[in-house]
């Protein structure tokens, strides 16, 4: 389990890093999909099989495919990829790295404290489902309105002018 976790974690880190540094968006996105799939593996090792399935099916399988379709619709060609590559110069990374290092070092401190080590309890999909459809039913409703809002917004914005 531990080895699986570490392998998946390294893969996630690596592919995410690759995703944000590629100049070709399609490549980057594929790296990100890999990172999501390995994230699913991590979820599984952390005792969350339901979340792992969701991550792979919904995130990597549906949302990212949507992303990919749109990028393909943008019909980016070699020229644009080339120009994109021209933007990824060293100077661009200086300020962001500086800021991110600042924030990261501040937040990393809070994880350094000692913590307890216990057995991982697998929280089954059934448990999650029961919660979602009993006490948390109103959150499901709210989430559906959230999706509906996104849908209506995207529907309107994607529509041609009258």
């Amino acid at each position: 389990m531990m080895i699986t976790f570490y392998v998946a974690a390294s893969l996630t880190l690596l592919t995410t890093a690759l995703a944000i540094t590629r100049s070709n968006p399609v490549h980057a996105l594929l790296y990100f999909v890999i990172s999501l799939v390995s994230m699913g593996v991590i979820f599984f090792t952390l005792g969350a099989p339901f979340a792992a399935a969701m991550e792979v099916i919904v995130y990597a399988g549906a949302i990212m495919v949507l992303f990919l379709f749109v990028i393909m619709m943008l019909s980016l060609n070699k020229v644009t990829v080339h120009r994109e590559a021209g933007w990824i110069v060293r100077s661009v990374w200086v300020l962001p790295l500086f800021l991110v290092a600042g924030l990261g070092s501040e937040l990393a401190r809070v994880f350094l404290g000692g913590g307890s080590v216990g057995m991982i309890r697998v929280v089954s999909p059934q448990e999650v489902g029961v919660r979602l459809f009993t006490t948390d039913i109103s959150t499901v409703e709210l989430a559906s309105v959230l999706l509906l809002t996104g849908l209506i917004g995207a529907f309107h914005l994607g529509r041609k002018e009258r």
Binding site: L107, V110, T139, L148, I152, H156
Partner: protein, 476 residues
């Protein structure tokens, strides 16, 4: 399941879910606006019923008490006023389908109400995001305007960033405490120093998200661009409803048992308040765009509000809510004047100060109410804004926040420059193209909406006691 306390929320959910069905059956702008308006009214009038609930509704996820229902009422009233403005704003000749706007409007209001009454971080987050996504749709709604599109994108990206911060913060809180319940997290003490640190870090990241939504310095930077790009009714929505909802959850959290402003938290709030008051007013100083001025002025006003929040005790709290009310009606009024003067089919709204030139001549009544709004923003009697500021000052004096008060006074003076400048421009002799404004017909609903915001500004500015008595009920 006893839902009596949650009736406003239930009504709004039915509204937000049912409206697409209405559109599917009959695509009529008037019908949809009417249904939305009726739904909001029904939710508003169900508040007294909800207040009488004996057992808490959905206690795990929502809190419905006098305080949260008060804020819900405020959100609903503001939403109704903005809806009236929006109804007339989208004229038939606008080159887009108008029917989706009320849909987004209703969904966003549901989000705001959920956020204002959230008891758990799940509902807090869902409410916040529903509201945000609806606002993105409403900002970019006139997508034939490049500025609107761009404003929508800016808001999407930057609010996406702030949402990620909030989510990460919630994650830290949950990791440290094992709970998503706000009251539980506030009341419980951390198990060890590491958890304590994690709680603080989580809180800080949520504060960043809240700072973004409240548009306080240093998270204010998106405000002017989005306000300018958004159509005027959406501008009012972003400036008023989003902020009331976030302030509601903030004030409710502060009022929870066991909550206390830590020293570092008050240092932070003080710094943010000072920066917001000063930068907001300084930024507005030489502006020629009215929406931008309103954006900057909202930054400053949120700074004043933070002063009131810092002034603890029950005076401070009533002062906060009073200030929110004054801010909300005034902002709706000011954006309303822009909405009234603008054509949705144009590529931008009438928002240049020079375009208001001679308004006193061409439309004296409109110029008069606009002056009232500006006086209220500047905190000059007899407008409501004066009393509101007076209350904050009294609360500040009570808790001896002298440095904050000094900054408040200084930035108030800076503010006078640009508010008065607008009044002066309005009183100038009209230029020829300004005469176009005079032939513009103002629709009856618009007249009604503007009258309905200017009346309380004047009436409560002269005799505020009834309003104060009402607001005090929220804290009993």
């Amino acid at each position: 399941m006893n839902l009596q306390g949650a009736v406003p929320l239930v009504i709004l959910t039915i509204l937000a879910g049912g409206l697409p069905a209405v559109v599917a059956i009959r695509r009529s702008y008037r019908l949809i606006c009417a249904v939305t308006g009726l739904g909001l009214l029904a939710a508003l009038f169900s508040i007294p019923y909800a207040l009488r609930a004996t057992s808490p509704a959905l206690p795990e996820l929502f809190t419905f008490n006098a305080l949260s229902l008060g804020f819900i009422g405020l959100i609903l009233i503001s939403a109704l006023l903005i809806l009236v403005l929006a109804y007339s704003y989208w004229q038939p000749e606008t080159p887009l389908y108008r029917e989706e706007f009320p849909l987004l409007f209703a969904a966003g209001t549901l989000g705001a109400v959920a956020l204002a009454s959230a008891a758990s971080f799940i509902t807090l987050f869902l409410g916040l995001e529903t509201m945000t996504l609806a606002m993105i749709g409403m900002i970019a709604y006139p997508h034939f305007r490049p500025a609107a599109e761009e404003a929508g994108l800016k808001y999407l990206v930057l609010s996406g960033m702030s949402s990620a911060f909030v989510l990460f913060g919630i994650g830290l809180l949950e990791l440290a405490s094992g709970s998503l319940n706000i009251a539980h997290i506030v009341a419980s003490s951390a198990a060890d120093a590491a958890s304590q640190q994690m709680l603080v870090a989580g809180l800080a990241m949520i504060a960043i998200g809240a700072g973004f939504k409240l548009s306080v310095v240093p998270f204010h930077i998106w405000v002017p661009d989005v306000y300018v790009g958004a159509p005027a009714p959406t501008g009012a929505y972003v400036a008023v409803i989003a902020k009331i909802a976030v302030l509601a959850i903030l004030i409710r959290t502060i009022n929870l048992p066991g909550a206390n402003l830590s020293a570092s938290m008050s240092t932070l709030t003080t710094a943010i308040a000072i920066l917001s008051m000063l930068s907001g007013n300084l930024l507005a100083l030489m502006q020629d765009n009215l929406k931008r001025i309103l954006g900057y002025s909202s930054i400053a006003h949120l700074g004043y509000l933070l002063v009131a929040i810092l002034a603890a005790g029950s005076i401070g709290q009533v002062a906060v809510v009073f200030y929110i009310v004054a801010y909300a009606v005034t902002m709706i009024g000011a954006f309303g004047v822009i909405a009234v003067l603008s054509h949705a089919s144009d590529v931008r709204d009438v928002d240049k100060i020079t375009e208001l030139r001679g308004l006193f001549w061409t439309r004296p009544a409109l110029a008069g109410v606009m002056t009232l709004f500006l006086l209220s923003l500047a905190g000059i009697p007899p407008a409501l804004g004066f009393i509101a500021k007076m209350y904050i000052m009294a609360a500040g004096v009570h808790t001896q926040l002298w440095s904050l008060l000094a900054v408040m006074v200084i930035s108030g003076v800076i503010g006078l420059f640009y508010y008065l400048n607008i009044i002066l421009v309005m009183s100038m002799k009209p230029s020829d193209d300004a005469m176009a404004v005079s032939i513009l017909a103002i629709s009856i609903p618009n007249r009604l909406a503007i009258a309905m915001v200017s009346l309380p500004i004047l009436a409560f500015g002269v005799a505020p006691s009834p309003l104060i008595a009402l607001l005090k009920l929220m804290f009993d």
